[in-house]
């Protein structure tokens, strides 16, 4: 099972309600056969933009991130279940970044254009697209076709 990150913005409410909402969320994840690795609380913050959710306008929210493992086939159901929760203002499920970073290619990118691989590729394409032309080194002293 891959690891996912669930970012949840919970509406303004007392701590006991927040706890119960988190428990509800955790139980939903467990019901799919998933596990929870970690729950991060980013605190109570002002949202960068106001959000309407469940016919209410929210300007502040409690930010949480839940790291969990779940079968990929059940992620859609999970997202749908969280969307039905009236205490959740906004939620997104992202796959955890596990790819190793690529090597820096800046040195190749700032080379002069003819030394860049993509420019060389374009030049080759232009060469291929060129139509065959009559070459004048035939030994004739006149152009054999109509001009």
């Amino acid at each position: 099972m891959p690891t996912y990150e669930l970012t949840m913005l919970l509406r303004v409410m007392p701590k006991t309600d927040i706890v119960s909402t988190l428990k509800r969320t955790a139980n939903t994840i467990f019901s799919t056969g998933g596990i929870i690795r970690k729950i991060d609380s980013l605190g109570f913050k002002k949202m960068p933009f106001k959000t309407s959710a469940h016919s209410l306008v929210h300007r502040e929210a409690n930010y949480f991130i839940i790291y969990f493992d779940a079968p990929p086939s059940r992620i859609f159901d999970l997202d749908e279940a969280f969307g039905r929760d009236v205490d959740v203002v906004r939620r997104r499920i992202y796959k955890q970044d596990s790819e190793p970073p690529e090597a820096c290619t800046l040195a190749d990118e700032i080379k002069p254009p003819p030394y860049r691989s993509e420019v060389q590729k374009m030049l080759e394409m232009a060469k291929k697209a060129k139509k065959p032309q009559f070459s004048y080194n035939t030994g004739l002293d006149y152009y054999p076709f109509q001009k």
Partner: protein
């Protein structure tokens, strides 16, 4: 008889001068164009002596400049949608637009990653679309948008 004697004398002197000039020429020729086997006999040249004045083949260009890296690769920083403060440095404080590669000076993969993570952060409600968070406005500038590294793409 006398005549004959005189003639023989003259002839012998001629032969003598001719042979002498020939010998001198031969010596000069041999000294100038010594065959290799003779030279090798007289003086053994060691291997080091041969290679001392030969041009040396370098493995790489000694004047090659070190490979430059973009600022994120240099400090081994991976952009993440949770790190809004880092991502805010790549957006305009006036319009919230993400600066292009010609301004940020990032490599292609890192620029794509930054743009993707900013999109994720904005979508999750961590980051604003149209402005920079006021608390991050005074953060140090990584680049100058008015003086891009490269000319604009278009």
């Amino acid at each position: 008889m006398f005549f004959c004697k005189h003639q023989t004398h003259k002839m012998s002197s001629y032969v003598l001068t001719r042979s002498f000039v020939g010998a001198a020429k031969k010596i000069l020729w041999r000294t100038l164009h010594r065959p290799i086997h003779e030279a090798a006999e007289s003086h053994q040249i060691s291997n080091e002596e041969i290679q001392a004045d030969l041009p040396v083949q370098l493995e790489k260009n000694p004047y090659e400049k070190p490979r430059v890296k973009c600022i994120l690769c240099k400090y081994n920083i991976e952009p993440d949608y949770k790190n809004v403060r880092l991502l805010s440095q790549f957006q305009s404080r006036y319009t919230g637009r993400i600066y292009g590669r010609h301004i940020t000076g990032l490599c292609k993969s890192k620029q794509a990653k930054v743009e993707h993570e900013i999109l994720k952060a904005q979508n999750a409600g961590f980051m604003a679309y149209y402005f920079k968070d006021v608390t991050y406005v005074k953060d140090p500038q990584l680049f100058d948008p008015d003086h891009p590294f490269r000319p604009h793409n278009y």
